[in-house]
């Protein structure tokens, strides 16, 4: 008897597979739009639109900065599935300060066909600041995931954008069993492209643990501290000192075209990499906004 048949007469039906919702159908093409503007009360979320699997339950007011606003993106689903195409657009108006994160890790489920993709566009207006620090992306076995993120900065705008990737459900011994992961982070300013960083891993074709690639480490993350008006050499040195203190192996370097600083961190667990990147975020916020970073606690 098939496991979920409620009655022997339904046994035959229960063995039949339910075809999966197609690419582009409701639930597969999640859209998220958030627009923050500077108002008399500080920063306000003036526009929000979310379709499954994105959900927003308003803003949170716990940012150490009195004028900042916070949104934690929620997901009612178990993760990203094959055929998903997500589109996220976050706009921070002139002089506004926003912090956007996810409530929990993004789990990219195992796949047997097609792929999943997420396209994220962040834009920060003149004098504005955005912290986009989502929880890690976990790549389950046989997943194929394409992630494209663009952050555009108006003159005087700053941002902290981080990205942590966990190459499997580590606690169950799964690592580097996904099929393909391509993540591109691109920064642009008034004069065009500032920098571009790509992570392209196909464990089957090239050993991710090769010397110089990830070596003995498993979890990998980068925080981009984008502050084109800042002295990037000074900020880079300061951040390097901050991040070499932690458990993760990390370093900071000045980004091309004076865009700011990149902090790379490698570790064995997501927590150590996140802690190191959080320290960099905290220091950057002190430099840029004169306040610490929010604790990062989601519960």
């Amino acid at each position: 008897m098939a496991a979920d048949a409620p009655h022997p007469a339904f046994e035959g039906y229960a063995t039949e597979a339910v075809p999966q919702a197609a690419v582009g159908s409701p639930g597969k093409d999640g859209v998220l739009e958030l627009t923050f503007e500077r108002t008399a009360e500080g920063t306000t979320l003036v526009h929000d639109y979310a379709t499954v699997p994105f959900h927003i339950s308003g803003t949170l007011g716990h940012d150490p900065h009195p004028d900042a606003d916070t949104v934690f993106i929620q997901s009612p689903t178990g993760g990203v599935a094959q055929g998903d195409r997500h589109d996220v657009a976050i706009t921070v108006g002139d002089e506004a300060i926003a912090h956007v994160s996810t409530q929990s890790s993004t789990k990219v489920q195992s796949m047997t066909c097609n792929y999943a993709a997420a396209n994220t566009t962040l834009s920060v207006g003149a004098g504005g600041h955005l912290d986009y620090v989502p929880e890690p992306t976990i790549l389950h076995a046989d997943s194929r995931y394409l992630q494209e993120l663009t952050v555009d900065l108006a003159p005087g705008a700053t941002a902290v954008v981080s990205d942590v990737v966990v190459p499997g459900r580590l606690a169950r011994g799964e690592r580097f069993e996904f099929e393909r992961y391509l993540s591109r982070v691109r920064g642009t300013g008034p004069d065009g492209l500032l920098f571009e960083d790509a992570t392209h891993l196909t464990p089957e074709d090239g050993d991710p643990t090769a010397p110089g690639v990830l070596g003995e480490f498993t979890v990998y993350g980068t925080a981009f501290v984008l502050a084109p008006d800042c002295d990037e050499t000074e900020l880079s040195d300061a951040l390097h000192e901050v991040v070499t203190d932690g458990e993760a192996r990390a370093g900071a370097t000045a980004l091309p075209n004076g865009a700011g600083v990149a902090v790379r961190a490698l570790g064995d667990r997501a927590e150590t990499v996140q802690a190191t990147l959080h320290a960099a975020w905290d220091h950057s916020r002190q430099e840029l906004l004169d306040v610490p970073a929010p604790s990062g606690r989601k519960y």
């Binding site: 790509a198 392209h200 790379r264 490698l266």
Partner: protein
Amino acid sequence: MTDAATLESFRLADSFLPVGTYTVSYGLEQFIQDDRVEDPADLEALLSTYLRQQVGPAELVALRAAHAAAIDGDFDAICRADRRLSAVTLAAEFRESAQQSGDRLLSLQTELRDEALLDRYAERVDANDAPGNYAVVLGVATGLADVPVREACLLCCHGFVTGLLGAAQRLLSLGHTDAQRILADLRPVMTTAVEESADRELDEMTPFAPLVDVLAAEHERAERRLFAS
């Protein structure tokens, strides 16, 4: 290839070429300092990562674009490739090293050859309008000298590896025979890097070696160091 083109490629591939290769280690110094590279086998494995993850998916893509642009006389395309390569090279020391040796090669080539394109490119680099990365200058130089693009790419790989082997000889007790053996053993890796770079457009540069980036960041702050990168 004409004899002139062949000889030009020998000249450009020679460690005798005065472009300051002896000052750069692209993070190798830090790998040795960190005891991550202790013997010829470690060195070969790391050089193979450089070729597969950095030179192939970034430098060679830019070199190919610059080579084609030099033949077409498309000056703007050279600058696009040049800026793009800098934008995807995240380690600050690597950008500096690539620009310093690029600068030396460019002034050398403008002295040796009477080409309007080279002069114009040099002016643009002097005005800080283009970074003048080594791979791009090499692409222009080989394109103008009728060195075919595949040979130009192989030349770039060979030059990169011999440069780092030279650095390794000073940092490790690496014998001449071991150095030559590594150079020979890496041939298939160079060929693969060259072939895999062939279909990439400029916006498909995806260098990826995070541990190299972290060690390069540590090298930037190292107290005692022999090399600029």
